[in-house]
Symmetry: C2
Subunit: 266 residues, 2 copies
């Protein structure tokens, strides 16, 4: 099962019981993501043993004692929503293996629960159930989340400079971030466009204080070349439209097209 | 813009104002569908001039005076939801061309309105916004329709024996079909599985009296070979799982995989 990476532009988090936890905001799915296969034992990410509490929660939830092989050309812990992608892909694989015949949103609710309880994500699984630029209008589990989508199938540039622990941020100043995120969503919806999305997202990264100097420098480098850029939420990194200049900065650069479909088999 | 065909297994129609019109039921998207491009003038389907009132409604709705080129390897009017696919694909193209930046469900609501007012479909556009086996829990426009999805990515056999005018059926014994369809949905949800979907769908085609002798013969031919089959709603045709025997019957046979994604660009 392949599930796309979900990159968050801005968000307004609410935490509590898993079914009432989530985030307002906008995230988009890209063609890169994770490929997950069940195997006899052990959890490996590109061949190396890893500890992933969110995934372990999923395995327990399904009473599955086997292992999981994860392949990805994206890094863990850098804001690409991989924990959600792995949780969703594994839940879907187990739904098939065990012949449970649960519909997508029921499966996604389990992956979301795993994310919330482990503090690894609030809106990624919902985004991955759809595809494109996904607007989340409510903070809730995927099955209850009202969404709409913009199908801007653009190519996006990325610069990864390191990780930020989602856990720390999400459990930290949630209320302040919520208020800023809510206003950003309102501001975006007043005039939805790709340009406005980047503008609002950059505002969010500055007003919340989440963007550090290196991130701000990278955003400004793109803007000075006529491109659009903002910070990956939550990673020390930047996503951009027309941001080839990011190649020249320190960090890992790559491109990926926005995918209109978050889930595919293969 | 490419939009998948939507094949309906069973349905419970409600008609009235477009935003309150729709159908409960289950439809699935396949890898075949329509490819739509805007052009200077005229409406062509595989190169031939055609009259498509649903599409013409869409063009008027967007105040667009140009033409549309449609390519498809599926036949019109045989239950493949092509009028909805064409209406949705064209609306999405016009949304892009005119720089309207409407989100998907707003665009889909227009395509749905075109379908309802022209009596060409009630649940196809909603299905095409998602992908896979789409369960529609409410009779309403796409933006307000509650759905869930089963991601059974199977290969389906089809036998097309002719067309049925959706218009006549939908405007005919709506109430009776609604009651039968509603019960079928309940029955399916009691134990969701691919096998049960075929069983319930076949019941629907028989109880509504929509299946004629040739359709019933084709279904029975598949079943006698150990496969599953039911009637395409609404076309004189059959869809099947493990239904290669359909090749030997009179009509047009083909296969297509279920697609998990109803919309893609290119």
């Amino acid at each position: 099962m392949f599930v796309s990476s979900s990159v968050t532009c801005f968000f307004a988090p609410k935490t509590g019981k898993p079914e009432r936890s989530g985030s307002l905001g906008i995230s988009f799915t890209i063609e890169k993501g994770v490929l997950v296969r069940l195997k006899d034992e052990g959890i490996t990410f590109n061949g190396r043993d890893v500890e992933l509490p969110t995934l372990e929660y999923v395995l327990k939830r399904f009473n599955y004692e086997g292992g999981v092989e994860i392949l990805s050309d994206l890094p863990l812990g850098c804001g690409f929503g991989l924990s959600g992608a792995i949780a969703l892909a594994t839940s879907l694989e187990l739904n098939d293996l065990l012949g449970l015949n649960m519909p997508l949103f029921k499966v996604a609710d389990i992956a979301h629960e795993a994310e919330v309880l482990n503090g690894t994500g609030l809106g990624d699984v919902t985004t991955q159930c759809y595809g494109g630029f996904v607007v989340r209008f409510s903070t809730s589990k995927p099955s209850a989340c009202k969404v709409d989508r913009f199908l801007w199938e653009v190519e996006v540039d990325f610069l990864v400079m390191g990780g930020i622990k989602t856990e720390d941020i999400v459990r930290g100043n949630v209320k302040e971030i919520y208020e800023i995120g809510r206003k950003c969503l309102k501001e975006f919806l007043r005039k939805p466009s790709l340009e406005n999305l980047f503008r609002v997202s950059k505002d969010f990264s500055l007003k919340t204080g989440l963007a550090d100097d290196r991130v701000i420098d990278a955003i400004e480098a793109v803007e000075s070349c006529g491109g659009l850029a903002s910070m990956i939420m939550l990673g020390r990194g930047v996503f951009a439209y027309g941001g080839e200049v990011l190649k020249e900065l320190r960090g890992r650069y790559f491109k990926s097209k926005v995918s209109l479909c978050g889930i595919r088999k293969t």
